[in-house]
């Protein structure tokens, strides 16, 4: 078990390292003219050279890379080009917003997906099953920005016009300034993400439940005279949840990168929006920092899923 853990950990580190190389290489393929845009249009070549020197851009790429890795190992992801703020601080500032968004949405879509999946599986091919399948596919087909804009139009704009000033147009209100504002600002983004992602879970839960409900031990439980609801929740759902948990681990990691659109539409200054801004300004350290951070989240999530599997199923460890 310990050997497996160490191997998995090393594997994760290797993946992370490859990502740093890839991301770093990516941004040096096309020469950036950061120094030019920082210096302004009338800048003399000397000024530009000076700026380049100050940012370390005049050094060979491999030196910049080594420098970057060395610092990263010491918890320093560099400073942004424009205001010399530490990238870790920028991430630290944006992270709570993204985490609030991701976790809230996750709770919603899990509830929605598992609940719908169970209903579908208990009455397969029924009207409810077909309706729920269509419902989840409908939202699954939505581009996230479209769903977000529709929410803004109908739930914010139309309601506000009609005199119900329930939801803000966008922006973020920290939890520290009161749970009410925090909740109001995040409700629509949560709904957007949750409706999009619930479909996967409805399908997973439905499939797993159908498999489990066909098993002998479920029949045994029924023949013992247990109430149907108890059979489904206690005996069925418990073993059907394994694939759901796996998918959840993967999605939660990927979400850090996937909240980009939702944050943009609802003007939430989370990691996604910060990254988009940085990309538009070619603010290299911030981009690399966020991409690396998000990748690390995926790697860690996958690691946790694997470890959980290994704990549940000893056969996994052999491979």
């Amino acid at each position: 078990m310990v050997v497996f853990l160490i191997r998995r950990l090393l594997h994760g580190l290797l993946v992370l390292w490859l990502i740093t190389v890839a991301v770093f290489a990516l941004f040096f393929i096309a020469p950036s003219n950061v120094a030019q845009s920082l210096a302004g249009r009338q800048a003399t070549p000397e000024t530009i050279a000076l700026i380049k020197h100050r940012l370390g851009l005049d050094q060979p790429v491999w030196k910049q890379y080594l420098h970057f890795v060395w610092n990263a190992l010491h918890g320093n992801l560099g400073y942004d080009y424009y205001h010399q703020v530490p990238v870790t601080a920028i991430i630290g500032q944006a992270l709570p917003i993204t985490v609030s968004l991701a976790l809230g949405a996750a709770i919603l879509w899990l509830l929605l997906g598992v609940f719908n999946g169970v209903i579908s599986a208990v009455h397969p091919r029924s009207l409810a099953d077909r309706g729920l399948t269509l419902f989840s596919l409908f939202f699954y087909s939505f581009p996230s920005f479209l769903l977000g804009l529709l929410f803004l139009y109908f739930v914010y704009f139309k309601l506000t016009l009609a005199g119900f000033n329930w939801f803000p147009a966008g922006g973020y209100s920290p939890l520290a300034q009161g749970i009410g504002g925090w909740f109001d600002h995040l409700t629509l983004p949560w709904l957007t993400l949750a409706l999009l992602l619930a479909a996967t879970y409805t399908r997973l839960t439905r499939g797993a439940m159908l498999d489990v409900l066909g098993e002998d031990y479920i029949r045994t439980a029924r023949s013992k005279g247990l109430r149907e609801s108890r059979v489904i929740v206690r005996h069925g759902l418990r073993s059907a949840l394994t694939p759901v948990v796996t998918q959840f681990g993967i999605d939660l990691g990927q979400l850090v990168g996937g909240v980009v659109v939702t944050e943009t539409v609802f003007s939430l200054p989370g990691l996604g929006q910060t990254a988009v801004t940085a990309i538009n300004q070619q603010d290299l350290p911030v981009i690399i920092g966020i991409v690396l951070f998000a990748s690390a989240a995926v790697v860690v999530a996958n690691l946790l899923v694997d470890i959980m599997y290994a704990v549940l199923d000893p056969r996994v460890r052999l491979h």
């Binding site: 290797l14 990516l26 596919l137 581009p143 804009l149 529709l150 659109v261 943009t264 966020i290 998000a294």
Partner: protein, 304 residues
């Protein structure tokens, strides 16, 4: 009549392949068939986009600043001349939607084709050849799957500058890994099967075994995945466009139209609604069809 009889020398007994059977199941699936019809309509709209321009008399990029905008300079709502209204520059929304379908479908098909081709070849190579090839490819798959796709895609496009080719390549580059992983997993179990050894004993080389003997056996999950990948690709392209990284203006594409319409959602609902509907109907049709394909290829998943 006699001519036909002469042609038929001996009765040919045509075996029913798993593929034929799946197609038969698919044809009986009403939802899937309706979706397919909708997809066909969208394809027709894309192909005959110039006909829309001709019928309305409005080329896609022509700005009608006098007739197409209100005196305040706002987009005009649907009427007799502009059936689905105009956009912020006085262009015909209907014609632009028809032209936008070309972009969505082209990217959807091209990027999916690249993804599937690369994914199959690398997945086959990793699974079948094993050894160092597998080790390297498996790590590569892990890396690509761990990268926050949309974030890096935006970054890439912003560095290279937006274009159709770049969009297709970026989407293809980040999507092949899932296909490769599916194929690799299947191949790992298939290559131990006796028919592979049988092929080898007949003198078949690695390439032939991979493509003639193993490939047909991994096709079913790949087909299912492919049909479900098309809408994902279309949404991704629209998302890039929405974030301002689509096609350079004035080319019409749905994501870009929605991006432009964002600022007018309170004043010109048609400007955002119709491109949005076009996009939604397209992805929904592909998803419903893909769902049908999945059920057709794996009837077990739908049993009750």
């Amino acid at each position: 009549m006699t001519a036909i009889m002469e042609v038929v020398e001996a009765p040919q007994i045509q075996g029913r392949s798993p593929f034929t059977l799946a197609m038969r199941r698919l044809r009986r699936d009403k939802v899937a068939m309706v979706s397919l019809a909708v997809i066909a309509l969208i394809v027709l709209m894309a192909v005959f986009a110039p006909v829309f321009a001709h019928l309305t008399g409005h080329p896609p990029n022509e700005q009608y600043r006098d007739t197409g905008l209100t005196p305040d300079g706002l987009p005009r709502g649907p009427d007799g001349t502009f059936w689905l209204g105009t956009d912020d520059l006085g262009r015909d929304v209907l014609v632009r939607i028809a032209y936008g379908a070309r972009v969505s479908l082209l990217v959807g098909v091209a990027a999916t084709a690249i993804t599937v081709a690369v994914g199959i070849v690398l997945g086959l190579a990793a699974g079948f050849l094993g050894g160092i090839v597998d080790t390297v490819l498996a790590r590569l798959i892990d890396v690509v799957l761990s990268v926050p796709f949309l974030l890096v895609a935006i970054a890439l496009v912003s560095v290279t500058g937006p274009s159709l080719t770049i969009t297709v390549l970026v989407i293809g580059f980040f999507s092949w890994a899932s296909v490769a992983r599916i194929v690799r997993g299947q191949v790992l179990s298939l290559r131990e099967r006796e028919f592979v050894e049988a092929a080898r004993s007949l003198g078949a080389g690695d390439t032939r075994i991979m493509f003639v003997d193993i490939l047909p056996n991994v096709l079913a999950p790949v087909i299912v995945y492919t049909t479900l990948l098309v809408p994902v690709v279309i949404v991704t392209q629209a998302t890039l466009s929405f974030l301002g990284l689509g096609l350079p203006p004035p080319t019409a594409d749905w994501g870009g139209m929605i991006n432009e319409a964002q600022a007018y959602y309170t004043t010109a609902w048609w400007f955002i609604l119709f491109p949005g509907l076009a996009l939604l109907i397209t992805t929904l049709a592909f998803n419903l069809f893909g769902d049908g394909v999945r059920d057709a290829f794996d009837p077990r998943a739908d049993r009750s």
